[in-house]
Symmetry: D3
Subunit: 248 residues, 6 copies
Amino acid sequence: MPFLLSPIEAGPSLPRILVINPNATITFTEGMQRSLSPSPDIALDFYNPSYPAAPYSIEGVYDSVTSAAGCLEELKPQLGRWSGFVVACFSNHPLTEALRELTSSPVTSILSAPLLLASNLGSRVGILTTSPRWVPLLTHDIHALHLSPLCAAGVVSSGLSVLDLEHLPRERVMQTLTKMAKDELEVSRQADVIVLGCGGMVGLDREIKAVCREGMVVIDPVVAGVEVCGSLVRMRLQTGKLGIYAQS
Amino acid sequence: MPFLLSPIEAGPSLPRILVINPNATITFTEGMQRSLSPSPDIALDFYNPSYPAAPYSIEGVYDSVTSAAGCLEELKPQLGRWSGFVVACFSNHPLTEALRELTSSPVTSILSAPLLLASNLGSRVGILTTSPRWVPLLTHDIHALHLSPLCAAGVVSSGLSVLDLEHLPRERVMQTLTKMAKDELEVSRQADVIVLGCGGMVGLDREIKAVCREGMVVIDPVVAGVEVCGSLVRMRLQTGKLGIYAQS
Amino acid sequence: MPFLLSPIEAGPSLPRILVINPNATITFTEGMQRSLSPSPDIALDFYNPSYPAAPYSIEGVYDSVTSAAGCLEELKPQLGRWSGFVVACFSNHPLTEALRELTSSPVTSILSAPLLLASNLGSRVGILTTSPRWVPLLTHDIHALHLSPLCAAGVVSSGLSVLDLEHLPRERVMQTLTKMAKDELEVSRQADVIVLGCGGMVGLDREIKAVCREGMVVIDPVVAGVEVCGSLVRMRLQTGKLGIYAQS
Amino acid sequence: MPFLLSPIEAGPSLPRILVINPNATITFTEGMQRSLSPSPDIALDFYNPSYPAAPYSIEGVYDSVTSAAGCLEELKPQLGRWSGFVVACFSNHPLTEALRELTSSPVTSILSAPLLLASNLGSRVGILTTSPRWVPLLTHDIHALHLSPLCAAGVVSSGLSVLDLEHLPRERVMQTLTKMAKDELEVSRQADVIVLGCGGMVGLDREIKAVCREGMVVIDPVVAGVEVCGSLVRMRLQTGKLGIYAQS
Amino acid sequence: MPFLLSPIEAGPSLPRILVINPNATITFTEGMQRSLSPSPDIALDFYNPSYPAAPYSIEGVYDSVTSAAGCLEELKPQLGRWSGFVVACFSNHPLTEALRELTSSPVTSILSAPLLLASNLGSRVGILTTSPRWVPLLTHDIHALHLSPLCAAGVVSSGLSVLDLEHLPRERVMQTLTKMAKDELEVSRQADVIVLGCGGMVGLDREIKAVCREGMVVIDPVVAGVEVCGSLVRMRLQTGKLGIYAQS
Amino acid sequence: MPFLLSPIEAGPSLPRILVINPNATITFTEGMQRSLSPSPDIALDFYNPSYPAAPYSIEGVYDSVTSAAGCLEELKPQLGRWSGFVVACFSNHPLTEALRELTSSPVTSILSAPLLLASNLGSRVGILTTSPRWVPLLTHDIHALHLSPLCAAGVVSSGLSVLDLEHLPRERVMQTLTKMAKDELEVSRQADVIVLGCGGMVGLDREIKAVCREGMVVIDPVVAGVEVCGSLVRMRLQTGKLGIYAQS
């Protein structure tokens, strides 16, 4: 069952943003729902596609294509219901660009939004991601988005797969993540801002910050994606339709 | 008299952001105050330095240095009063980096914030600025901030000086700005997003959008700066203190 | 019915390359088949997906996702039949990366292959593509592939849509294409190599070269994609599996 | 005696490519001849200049200039005999650009050709070269050719000089090369493709691949140079004469 | 008392350059004066601002702004006395750009001048600076000046603060600096040119060179700044006034 | 007869710089000699190779190779006579790098030296060169030297060949050059600094400056090359021998 209800059923006149977890793991979507604070002027809905229309986790381009196709099939007929969209996969997921073509409502990505915010807070931003393969994948994606210079400390793998975040004991997950944040990003790479590099890490920012030296910044990418989308919605900005996102 | 009151005196427990117009022209500050919508969860204060501690407009690096020194002398003793700061000069004004060193509260710039937001809305962002000299100055500043690839349509001068925005008849100002937006950015440079490139252009976005082809995006930089700062404040993110902004 | 007809039924021991036209327009696939010369040591098969599993032409990211998903559903079970693959859409089509993940046989793209070959022949390579929207799309894709410096004269739109190539009278198509090649690429942008920027332009290289000044180079992207794939097959090189294309 | 015969004396109507080893060490040329497989549709000739017109190995720019001048003096009068040229020195050897000026037949370089092919196979290509000095030299050359982003794992020195490849016992050579490929490129730098960085390493690719983890790609640069040149010849593409290679 | 006399009172007709130490530590200024050789055709004057108009050392952007404002207040009325200016702070100090706006006489920076000269002498230039915070600050500044590719070995901190150079025993200072030059720049980063990264390191180049391997180059930034300024003065070149340095 | 005497026979103890015009046109060398002012502390010698060891003008890479080989054959045995060298061809002439390998005395290029100096004077430097072919050649060379960002206004051809500078009536030469400087660089490209892009343009800077708007900067490349070399000689800096210029 792909849809989840919105936690904040504010008045019907509030603009609504749809947070899309593009994999089929509903517990990730629920984690996002729990971690996002209610906003007084924007309502949030949450969605994930069903299996096998989309995979349980996204580990590369093949998964991204399947996931995007699965989401689009379900969402395309009803896109008019939302004033904004957040694609909550930490990658240059093709759903982001596809949605920008299909609707005028603004669409943000949980990969680019935290990097954009981070550029206000430090000069050596680093990303803590899941399995080793995401290092070259994210390096490629960040370059494609012209954001490499905003990510000077690069991408570090925790060695955990996306589904490990869900299935391993939480203590072991946190031990692994905090060790990499501290040793690899803070100490070796001299990062001054850490972006959590997976939608499944939603809500872990404070615990990771706690192990770092005072003054480190840790950013939750899902919250960042929702905040940036909220700004665009509040400013009544829409996707530009005279260039790359023109509808054919 | 440098201080202006906040238009939204919400409850005393709300976090407050200080919007700094770093030149001494109070009518610009008032324009910002008028154009910013009240936010339900953040209060705004407005400030500009007094003349001759700071110049009436900022036309280069010498003016920036004077302006930054003037603002810092007045603001430094009381920085603890705000949870966030917006430096409302459309440049890489040194006050931005200086404030990031002096306080942990996040600081945004009305140059970088609209470019960061715009990257979600189009792929050929262009800037409409004031006098011709701001073209090389902004080109330099945008490069220094690693944002050149997010501003593919470049910087266009309207030929108007900063103070022309204030002193010329509004009709003539709008005629000039809309012509350049249309002819130079939309048509010649194929921009799909236009960022207004001067704090003094606050509130002019809708009129400029109206002359462009349906689907053009026009961004008010002051509103963008306040929105991005608001996001950082809501996320309780602070300036990183382990790298470039460490206090010595 | 998606097709697989090999024009060159050489001995069964020859390695086979599959040329994939990822849209559903069979006449484009037939054009590719007609334009490719038989090779003495490699056999070619041709494929396109059926409608509506894939669109008749690809005009953006949404179409790419649909097209990739459609092709993958049909091809995935039988990938072991080929020693190499050519993705014959002039874009950074996600099928290219997805196939590199799914198989070890080399995969080339008709966007990158002609640019790689062109870098041996000149220093101001330009692309002649179809509708205006492909200009920002291809500019983005070429950057994502790190090939922008190998395409110094940039991308020029002919104003024709992909399907215009098929449906308009050939004379009018050629008039439009040759005019843009000559006026915009050769003269205005000083290109010394022109890459035809659409799979549907297969076989048009000689006519376009004929209108340019002696010494211009015009490259057919489909032939280029097949040649580069053939080189990789002959060298028995396979896709690397220790990094970005590792199977999860 | 500078000329070697072609190993494949196919019919006189076949196009011929000249493989130029631009140093005077004939055993390198013979190694190239042995390692290149006969092609059914293109004949290969091999050449190296005589000493002291050219040095026995090329260790920098002075050697390159001498080598290029020596080759050009001998070859210039007879360039019309070949349909393509391969400059088989792993550097941005000036002979490559000079030949492109002097003839319309395509010219490839064994530095750029394997990097171009490798970009289809992985995203972290690394080079294994000879003496330490070639690290800054090749880093410079690869940048000059706009290929740095296609060589993300950089250049590694084996510590062997070019002539060590010839004079040291083969076992010791292979021990040194395989150790560096494994330890420095595969493990430390996370390369997923290794390009052998010296014409004298022709034919060593399979042995080096054998020590790496399954899935590593190793490219022989001489074979790559010949394959890319063969593609250009088959496509009847010629060097562009309207720009950088115009004859004065 | 901010002014120091010129050591070389050549004839009154000689052009004069003002060397500006923009912090208030007079012993640094005196060190510069001692280390600069008399030139037969250009006279040198030396200046530093007084405390508290400027800080005793510059450790970031806030200090730079204060320092620039302090210097400009004292110097602005008398800029016509000099034919050239050297801003002797190893950073992109805003005084440099401000002076270029205020006068036509050429202005050089001791950050950019040694990097420009070094590009003639090697390909892996590295900088040895003071406290760790200067690493991200200088990395930013060098990028802003478009000089990153001329500084391939990057910036290394010695761990000493600017004032440590003055207050610690000289032996300990030299021990620390030579160790970092040798271990970090020469060995780890393979630098072939070392630029001393602080105005307070004036005159230390020979001692640092002495510990490195024969063939290392060590550049004194203050001498470099004066030499480049001298060249501009001798060539009668002035700051361009048609672009970024136009006076408003 | 390749050698010319030095115009300034100062005391024998003065360091001497050799200015190398690497083509065989002696009148260019004489023009350089006439245009360079005597320096009180450095003596200048002038050299050009003889024909046919080197061509009368350099119009590409083949000419550069011939020219470099011709110069090196004559100069190599006597390099110890000079404390510095200026390669007076406005290109990335291979003689520059070859000399840096062969000697420790500093070597400057009249392509890079004026760009380095210009970076102190403006932010949109442009080059006025000879024939159209030099536009792609110089664009390539400037990139190879990492100097593209210091040449933002790019390269403009005057349409004159190198030898036209010598053979056409001076009035016509100046008319052509001043028109291009004014119309193309000052007006169209908004250059604020113009570098004369040919050794044969030595001494023409003032006339070209005279036609431009007050505040334009025009740089003579030969004078710039000699000034930068003089700085290196005075600072007793030598070519680094631990990296790219190590002697093998």
